[in-house]
Subunit: 229 residues, 2 copies
DNA sequence: TAGTGGTCTAGACCACGGC
DNA sequence: CCGTGGTCTAGACCACTAG
């Protein structure tokens, strides 16, 4: 025998794909499957749980396990450091801080972070370069009450993205990618034309107790976001 | 006691965040943790495995478990049916097939699918509408040898995206989002201006044995791709 | 080669929620 | 109510790999 959970998963997937288990249909319960396949229920559980997480199955107590009617698949996107993203392309990464100061918090940023107007924030604008050519430009607001040490971060040596990832790991957050025309300022930093179609990532991250940072990242034309499914 | 794996996970996360377990540092092995926390090793294993999958820990046999130096977080993006995507916005979805035929396979598409020039393919162009207004336009190539029934799919009643998801679940595939200027044809279908910044999704999916479909989906201006992390 | 995580087992109890 | 998945346990063996 020696059936592992991956074998059970493969067999279940085969039955789903061959329509032996049709979409929407209830499949045998864990105990029966374990008996049929000759392994422990825990092994079947592990396999079916993985398939449910991948979107192939829907499981509910008492109601049993069903094949997802329209398999909702989930793709994973790794959120790498910008530096790594550049190096993974085989290029050399560098960065330059454009400016760093503490202007009043604009209402849209304040709303995204959920902070009062008086909250202490630092704004840093940074240009990321790949082989010396503009890769992306970043407009970042950092909540100093959540990350007091950021005020002393040596941003000439380590970029803001990497400093924060290393020093202020976050709990959760949201990412929003959209296509937008480059603003005049984007165009100046990225050496492209105003109005060029560029990818803009807006990201807000939160720590256990308080918002950490809000960032708008404008990628130079030609950027691709790739996902595997 | 009654410590569950989620409790163990929470405790581990607390230690990571509090730097009790510093980045890059090796943490106690599973057996020791189980003894310390008063639960079975399997419970600790489940908790630490989940943290590793989420990017907080790096685990290797013999080398033990370490706190990830720069937590590489992964975000999940659900790949919904276009119809669902529209309905989730509270709008009414509809679609219209623009044309459907069997032209020769252009080299770029052929390369993406990894098919010979003679492979039987059907091309369908479709416009997706939200509340009657253009939402996205799709240029799809379907490998008929992998999905013979597609030739008879009633695409006036069910859109190509949904038909394929329901009738030809795929194994794996790639997604590629990029920002691009709308072509003249995109602009005509989407009622926007030529050159407007739009999001373009290129997706290729493969079945167990053969490529299934290659699709270019151009979203109307204003589309956002949102991810949670 | 020894220590670590990866996994399987058999059994048990529990929580949820259709019926 | 009671069947189902969710989880815990104690023990065991295995696979990998750093030292």
């Amino acid at each position: 025998m020696a059936l592992g959970w991956q074998d059970v998963q493969a067999e279940a997937l085969r039955r789903i794909r061959s329509r032996e288990w049709a979409p929407g249909e209830q499949i045998p319960n864990e105990a029966d499957l374990a008996r049929e396949l000759g392994c422990a229920r825990a092994t079947v559980n592990r396999a079916l749980r993985a398939l449910a997480e991948a979107g192939w199955l829907e499981r509910r107590r008492r109601a049993g396990t069903r094949v997802a009617p329209a398999p909702l698949r989930r793709a994973q996107v790794a959120i790498p450091l910008i530096r790594k993203e550049i190096e993974n392309r085989g290029q050399t990464a560098s960065h330059a801080v454009i400016d760093r100061n503490r202007p009043p918090l604009p209402p849209p940023i304040r709303a995204a972070l959920g902070l009062p107007a008086t909250a202490p924030v630092e704004r840093v604008r940074t240009l990321y370069l790949a082989d010396g050519r503009p890769f992306a430009c970043e407009d970042r607001w950092v909540h100093l009450a959540a990350v007091p040490d950021f005020a002393d971060a040596p941003l000439d040596r380590i970029d803001p993205n990497e400093w924060l990832v290393r020093n202020a790991p976050f709990d959760h957050g949201t990412l929003d990618y959209c296509a937008a025309p480059a603003t005049a300022e984007d165009a100046r930093h990225l050496s492209c034309e105003t109005g060029a179609a560029i990818m803009v990532l807006t990201r807000t991250t939160f720590g256990p107790a308080a918002p950490v940072t809000h960032v708008r990242l404008a990628y130079a034309p030609g950027y691709h976001l790739r996902l595997e499914i």
